[in-house]
Structures are given as C-alpha cells and as structure tokens.
Symmetry: C2
Subunit: 470 residues, 2 copies
C-alpha cells in the first residue's frame, strides 16, 4: 500500500470524530503503539486514535476510505506475529476504551464483552458467577479478548476445551467500509447463511474491527490434578502424548517443555524452584479436571500407567494450590524467559499430535544444517509446538540470510506432516511470506477475493496475513 | 438463473467425462434425484451424473461454466430445506460413488471420509475402534456425512458435544470453477489465513463440492443414563431445561417433545409403548454420559432434584439397552411421524435456551392468529425447536397465503429473542426469502460477494441460501 502523508485537513476530520483528547501525534505515543511482542519490531502509526464507540470507528473508516489511509487495529500488543504493527503508517486504532464486560448471562451461559477486556479479567469475572471461560493463552494476564478473537488464540486448555473460535457465537463488527453489523446470532447452533462469525475469527483485524463479542461459557469445574513428568528423552516425551489419548483420557492440559526451556525459566522467574536431574531432557506438564475427585485420581493413575512405559524420572504431583500456581507460572513464563536471553524468532508450528516426535527431530536437524539453536515448548496435546530460534552469537548476516531458509524448511516439514504454519499466533506480518508453503495460488486468491469483498480499498490492516505477491 | 436446454453436444461432453453408465436422462431417474425430504417438492434435474473422482467433478464444473449450466450437488436426499433440489434444472450431481471411509487414524483420533458415507455407518465404524463421532442427526440412519457438513447438521448430542462444524478439520473441495483444493490442515488448531474450512461448512453446496472430509474424533464413552420426564405443563418443561444447566450439569442429550409429537409417534412406530396420563402436556428426554457409573448416578440425581421443583409425573428410567434403543427410536421417528399425517412445513428455529418458553408460547399465539396447528419438538438443550406446521383441514388458499405470514412472524419472534432462522437444517430453497429477517442488506451483500468470489458464473446450486432479491 502506498504511504499517505496525513494532511492537516485529514487530522482535523479525524479529531472531529474522536475529540482532541483521543488523538495523538507525539512520537512517544506513536512509538508506544508501534510495537507488540513480535521480535524487536517497531512500526509507529502516523497518528494514534482512541475511539469510544462503534459509530466513531465507522466515521474513522469512512475518512480512511476517502483518503486511502491505512488503519491498523491495536489491541493489547501482546501479539507474536506482528498483526498490530502499523507497517504502512497511517492510523493506529487503539481499542483500549472498549474495556467493559457488558453482560454475564447466567441463564444462557453466555457473556457479552468488549474487545479490550484482559482475558484473565474475563475468566475471573465469569468464575465468580460459577462459570468457566476455558481459553487461556500464556499471555492471559495482559492480552485482550479482542486480540484472542482476531488471532484465534489457544492456550493450555485448548486440548480439552478448544480454542477461542469454539466460544465465539456472535460478533459486532465495524466493516472496513464503515457499516456496523452483527455476524450471526446468540445461539449455540446456527445454519443460517455463510458463517461470517467464523470467517471473522482469526482474520487478524483485516476484515473488520470487532467491537462486541458474544461468547458461550461452561459450568465451572471444581477439581483438578496437576503433574510434572521428567523424561530422559525428548522424543519419548512427544511419543507419550499420543499414548495418553489412546488410553481414552483427554487431559485438560498437556504441555511439553524442552530442558532448556525449563532451565531458562527457572532462572527468569522468582519463587519457583524444582530440582531436575542432569539427564532429564524434557518435561510434560499434565492436568486433568472435573467435578469428581475420585474420577480424577483414576484418570491420573491411568496416565501414570501410560507414562511408566517410558524412561521417566519421578513424577511431581502438585499437592497444593500454591504448588499448582507455581508450576503454571513457570509454564506461562517460558516464552518470555527464552526471549529475554537473545534476539529471537518464534514459530508456531502445528501438526497432528502423533507427528510431534518427527517434527521435533526435524527441527533439530534443520537447526544443525543452518547453524541455529532452537528452544521448543508448547501445547503438545494439540500438536502445537512453539519453536524459538535464538540468535545468540550468530552473525547479523547469517541471521538475515540463513534463518529464513531454515524457517522455510521447518514450515515445509510441518506441512508435509499434514500440519500448518500457525496453531494460535496468526500469520500477521512476520509469517505472511511463508503462506505459499501452506496454500497454492488458488487458495490464496480465494482469500484475497474475500478480503476485497470486505475491504475494497484495502485500507484495513494492509500488508498482513496474505503474501506480498498475491 | 436462466434455464438452459441441454444440447446433444453438451450431453456428449458430459458423457465423455463420467462414462455412459453414469449419465442418466430417463424421467424415472431424474424424478428420483429431484426430491429430498422437503415438503412435497419435486424438481428433477435435466440430467443426472454420478462422477467417481474429484477430477471428473472438476471437468463437469468446467463444462457447466462454459455453457452456464446449473449444477446441484445431491447427497442422501434427507434434507429438510430443499438444498438438493434442482430448482433450475441442469445437472443433478449425485455424490453416491464417494462412499468410502478412507482412513480411521487411531493415532491422531481422526477420520478421513468421503461424503456419501451414511452418518450412522461412520459412527459405528469408528466406534468399533473405540472412537466416538458425536453428531447424530435424527436421520443418521440414512443421511450422508457430506450433507451433514454442507448443512452443518446437529442432532441430539450437540448440546454436550457440538455440531458437525466442531468436528471438521479439513475439506477437499472442487471449487465451482473446477480447481481442487484443501481448505485447511489436519490439525486441531489453525490460525493460518482465513478459515475456508468453516466457510465451506454450512454453505449448503453453493461454494464448492465436498469430496473428502477430515474429522476429529473423541475417545468413546462407556456408560450413559437415559430418562423420560413427563410434564403437566409444556412451558415448565422448557423452563426446566435452563435450570438443569444452571445446576452445573451438561447432559449429553436434552430433548423436548410436545404431547402430540409423542402420541403421533407411538401410533407410527412399531414396538414402542409408553403409558402416558391424559394430563401430560410434554416430555423431556434426558441423557448423561461418561465413563464412571457413579458420576452418572450422581448427575442423574442432581437432575432429578431440579425436575422435582416442577409439576411432573413419574420419571421413566430406561434400564436396559433395549429400553434405551426404544426411546431413541421413538424420538428419532417424531419428525417422520408428524409429517406422515398431513402436508406440512417444518421450521428449524433456534434461540438462546432460556428463551425457549417464550418462543413456544409465541408460536402457539401466532398459530391461533393465522389458524394453523403446530407440533413442536427438538433439541431443547441447544434452544433448537423444530416447528411442524401441519396443513390438516386448512384450505389450499389459506395454506398458500396465510402460512407464509405466520412463518414470517415466527422468525421475527425468533430473531427478537436473539435467535435465528435455522439451527441445523439450513436455509436452502424454502427459507431463503425469510433471510431478510435475520440479516440486513449489508450482511446479505457480504454473503453474495463471497459467493461471487467462489462461483463467478453462479452455476453451483443456484437459487439457494440467499434471497431472490439480493
């Protein structure tokens, strides 16, 4: 998209919509809204707007269409694929004033929420009413529910409870052309026309600006058991994952962490200490949940029987709430801990879960070939492995030229294993030019065609998701 | 769409693709493929083709584009919204040769299946491997899995396990323009580009011809408890539905049947007899399932406690497999039984479940106003109520002029209650001109735009889903 220099007239028009106190031109504010958690990228917008109503967003988008100004919706800025970066400058549309839980409907087990509510705040608010919103991205303490919908986020509990898309019933959306629509109905079932709701979920802010979200909730579970399992062999840890499911158990979490991931995290996080033998190569963190403790004990026993077929050290059962919180704190901090050490690139590979050992082995082989170190962890129960490629002592030249080749090979392997590029982080800015690995030209042109239907002038979050050459 | 008279040249080209033995021009075959279970409609195609490979379908669609011939995909012909009717004649594309279960992947809990496999056959095949495919439309003994995907079918177990869309991971589709694509990947999580898979699910054969389906499976449950609960008041039966969920229970089925529905069914079905007191107005059929009998007994007791707050007769617990099968046989036969009595129209209303009593009451009031009788039953746990409007002794004139007004009012009520037109049957041919009640012009134009991206010449299943005036 061509860069547009904002004229005073454009600024004046935008200011008339949001008011002087919600329009920002200063460098500090623009820089603040110019980055998320994606590598070390900073792409400041030319102007930051903080609208307060869907109608104001509608007016902003109409002006943007008139002058062909790029508009980038900005959420909690915890994204890992650069979806919120204003790579073509223009308007940075911060959604932060849409921060209310509008209605917790206990009769229908639903919640209506605005996009800037922090995911954990939402989870705790519904829990107070005895209800359960399962998706729990590791960044749940800071990410926003709107961003979760835009990226179709997952988290540790996805393995049993599904991802964000499985909870979205209906969305209020401002279309790029300015119309305000609802995508569906507030019902559990819906066979009425094309599924605009699911098309919007995971579209990474390129098809519309989400202003209200209707989600289904579950009754809250009362009990869980959490165990940390040390493996002497990483491949075996991956193999154990499928075996647990084959035994008829669906854990509520099944997380994989390489040795490095845990070591780095234990150094990074305060107040968590675990003694780990030198020979241990990887851990599984396994949770079962439900309402009946006896059932959970029986399931934990079944899981233990499966695990004993492998070469493992002693299983650590978290006995108290404090121990459970400490283990989850550690798991959630892995991403930050690994990244605190070095410049990094994070890939969000996903395969059918049985293929996980092959994926892990392949990644290490590719790393050897291109000379990079990777630290892997993630939601093994879903086959979703986060691959952190750390720069460490690699030269800037190699980082620029060799790493993209290595990433391309990792994605080729992923797709060959019937998997795909991203399980829960989205494609955004940093993965878009690998999309040709997962999709051919026909598929990409369909996506491009859909984008054009929603956004004929291409003003909303340009340069994201679709590759540059399509 | 304009009617096209098939020339000998077109027929010759089509025959070259499928072979002489899979092209049918005789009236009997065309009539056979000209109807499904939608009212008494018969719309024979001009020619019936039975292709054997995606490549043949691709060739057929290319010829159809060349001559602007309408193509209507035809599945098990059990549909209730007329999606398989060749209303513009042209090619009736029977999918019956795509009838294989290609792979039951026990390691990844997935199945790859062709569209013409009967849903019950699929469910039984995976059950033999200890796996569970939950969606169970009442027509499961004759409907096809491809039609289930096209209509996003539900069934009794949707209340706990979700609908067809929740099990579809990936689809092989022949696009209307002839390209063969996969819509996604074989993974449980996917944040890679727009969700073409979920766009295809429920698109009723208007965006592509489904040729392979990858679905996720669950481990099979070993136990269940089934109970039939007679209510002296229909409204109270509806109210009880929400109360059960509020007590923290998620039943695996929660079905509602008006008195007439059961009475008509008991006369229609052999081998099932239940003594029902004259004062009973409605029944709930409630199932809980799981692996631990003790837990199920505890849940059944909790449900009983909730039910005792209402004015109910004695609960019938199905003690044996035979009794369970008899009750399910009865429930599944309701639709057919009600329809065997008279010409009918069936609506597939869905609302948030707490609104069910209001919906039922409103339907009866609207019936009184327009002079029609309705028999209601359905998946109350999902808020999905099937409304069978029976012609009975109504004059043909009133049936033609008054009933559409009544249906419009029913849908307006449904939408006012935050519900929508169809929960699981689709819009197809018979509901399309009510779509303006659920969607405004902006929303419908988005859908039309998507249709144009996939099918620029509008040859695939024309005259379905979208209203005539859009």
């Amino acid at each position: 998209m061509k860069e547009v220099i904002l004229s005073q007239e454009m600024i004046d028009q935008l200011e008339k919509v949001v008011g002087q106190s919600f329009l920002f031109l200063d460098q500090a504010t623009r820089n603040h809204y110019g980055h998320d958690e994606t590598e070390d990228y900073v792409f400041p917008p030319s102007v930051v707007l903080k609208p307060g109503t869907p109608e104001e967003i509608s007016e902003i988008l109409k002006i943007a269409n008139q002058y062909q100004i790029p508009v980038t919706p900005i959420g909690g800025r915890t994204g890992l694929s650069g979806g919120a970066l204003s790579i073509h400058k223009g308007i940075g549309l911060s959604m932060e004033r849409f921060n209310k839980i509008l209605n917790i409907d206990e009769k229908n087990l639903q919640v209506v929420v605005e996009p800037a509510v922090i995911t954990q705040v939402l989870r705790e608010a519904v829990a107070e009413k005895g209800l359960f919103y399962p998706p729990d991205p590791s960044s749940q303490g800071s990410c926003w529910i709107g961003g979760n919908v835009a990226e179709n986020s997952g988290g540790a509990r996805a393995v049993k409870y599904g991802v964000t898309k499985d909870y979205v019933l209906n969305l209020e959306v401002v279309l790029p052309t300015g119309e305000i629509i609802w995508t569906g109905a507030n019902t559990l079932k819906n066979s009425t026309g094309y599924n605009l709701t699911q098309l919007m979920v995971g579209s990474e802010g390129t098809l519309g600006v989400i202003t209200k979200i209707v989600m289904k909730l579950l009754p809250k579970n009362s009990h869980n058991i959490l165990m940390l399992v040390p493996f002497y062999n990483s491949g075996q840890a991956c193999e154990a994952v499928s075996k647990i499911f084959s035994a008829g158990i669906t854990p509520s979490a099944l997380e994989f962490m390489e040795r490095d991931a845990i070591d780095w995290t234990l150094r990074f996080v305060d107040g968590v200490s675990i003694a780990i033998k030198d020979e241990v190569q990887a851990h599984l963190l396994i949770e079962v949940d439900g309402n009946y403790p006896d059932v959970l004990f029986a399931e934990a026993e079944k899981i233990t029987e499966v695990l004993e077929q492998f070469d493992i050290d002693e299983i650590l059962f978290a006995d108290t709430e404090d121990q459970k919180n400490a283990l989850w704190k550690m798991r959630r901090a892995v991403g930050e801990a690994v990244k605190s050490n070095s410049i990094y690139k994070e890939e969000d590979t996903v395969v059918p879960r049985y293929e996980l050992p092959k994926l892990l082995e392949g990644i290490k082989t590719i790393g050897d070939k291109y000379g990079f170190k990777s630290v892997c962890y993630g939601h093994a129960g879903d086959g979703n492995l986060h691959v952190n490629i750390v720069k460490g002592t690699m030269s800037d030249d190699d980082w620029k030229t060799e790493i993209p080749k290595g990433i391309r090979e990792i994605f080729e392997l992923t797709v060959a294993l019937k998997g795909t590029l991203s399980g829960e982080h989205g494609i955004g800015y940093v993965q878009k030019n690998y999309m040709d690995i997962a999709f051919n030209r026909t598929q990409l042109l369909l996506m491009k065609g859909i984008k054009n239907v929603f956004d004929p002038n291409g003003i909303l979050n340009p340069g994201k998701v679709l590759p540059d050459n399509i």
